[in-house]
């Protein structure tokens, strides 16, 4: 049964999906629920993607549709998390080594994670976040910059005369 290959592909990618959800909502249960909800969206929304998968009847790992399925799930996670984040923002308190990351704005966290952990290209990040390329690049650079600031790192250029350089 070829659908089994889709099943294996999604299982194999659960770690990425879960961690993306966790980077947006740092809570085990919330993150898990986000991933499950995104799968439900894939099912409920009788989308062209699933239809294309069925019609092509090809769930081999070389099929580009599988990558699209993963991006669709990432997009759903992003959309659902953005709504939930605004509701539970005040109750999210993160301490520890990743606190500087979680202190970033929602979109910056998502873009930074997609770029540096999942190695998505700009087109894919645009697709997942629904932002224009210019915004994606701008937010990625702001995220790097803000993360450096949150970590207490400053680069000396631009303030060479008085700037102090702190290494990460």
């Amino acid at each position: 049964m070829k659908v089994l290959e889709l099943e294996h592909y999604l299982e194999h990618n659960y770690k990425d999906l879960f961690n993306f959800a966790f980077s947006l909502l740092p809570d085990d249960l919330q993150a898990q629920q986000l991933v499950l909800d995104s799968v439900q969206v894939l099912l409920l929304d009788d989308n062209e993607l699933i239809r294309a998968c069925i019609e092509k009847d090809d769930f081999s790992s070389s099929n580009p549709l599988l990558k699209q399925v993963k991006n669709f799930l990432l997009k759903s996670i992003y959309n659902i998390a953005s709504k939930r984040f605004s509701q539970i923002r005040s109750s999210i308190i993160v301490e520890g080594e990743h606190a500087p990351f979680y202190a970033l704005p929602f979109e910056e966290k998502a873009i930074l994670f997609l770029k540096h952990k999942l190695n998505l290209n700009f087109s894919e990040i645009e697709e997942v976040t629904g932002l224009a390329r210019v915004s994606v690049i701008e937010k990625l650079n702001s995220a790097r910059s803000d993360l450096a600031t949150n970590l207490g790192i400053t680069f000396s250029l631009g303030s060479i005369s008085s700037g102090e350089t702190v290494r990460s």
Binding site: M1, V3, L4, L6, E7, L10, E11, Y14, K15, F18, N19, F22, S23, P26, D28, Q32, V35, L36, V39, L42, L43, I50, C53, I54, E55, D57, E97, H98, P100, F101, Y102, L112, F113, H116, K117, I137, L140, N141, R144, S145, L147, A148, L151, I153, F155, S156, L157, G158, I160, T165, R167, S168
Partner: protein, 126 residues
């Protein structure tokens, strides 16, 4: 103002500045190249080195947690349901296509009979 070494052109330092200010999307290879290229400008070199160190370590500051077996199992169950639903949809699609095919054949046969009857009636009338 940035103090440039006389042996380094201003444009190189501006390029470095652009990279360091993270307005560009710096790749590690570019930073390596720039580090070598403007190696004679002390300020830029130091800043590039710091930025390079930061970018290389950036990955460590982004969380990537391990998943509990319980969570993975629950996801497997959900995915199994998804797979079943897709299989059902697939079968429904095959059935629908088969019915459409039958309807198409039936339509063509009826049309043929109708044409033949018309021809026979016309022949008899003549």
């Amino acid at each position: 103002m940035i103090k440039h070494s006389p042996s380094v052109s201003r444009s190189h330092c501006l390029h470095a500045r652009k990279v360091i200010s993270l307005l560009d999307s710096p790749q590690k290879e570019n930073l390596d190249y720039l580090t070598g290229h403007i190696g004679r400008c002390r300020s830029c070199t130091r800043t590039l080195r710091d930025a390079k160190t930061f970018l290389e370590k950036l990955d460590h500051h982004i969380p990537f947690v391990s998943i509990s077996a319980e969570s993975a199992d629950e996801f497997k169950r959900e995915i199994a349901i998804l797979a079943k639903k897709i299989e059902v949809k697939k079968q429904a699609l095959v059935q629908r296509r088969f019915i459409e095919k039958i309807k198409g054949i039936k339509g063509r046969v009826l049309q043929f009979i109708q044409t033949a009857m018309t021809a026979i009636v016309a022949f008899l009338y003549l």
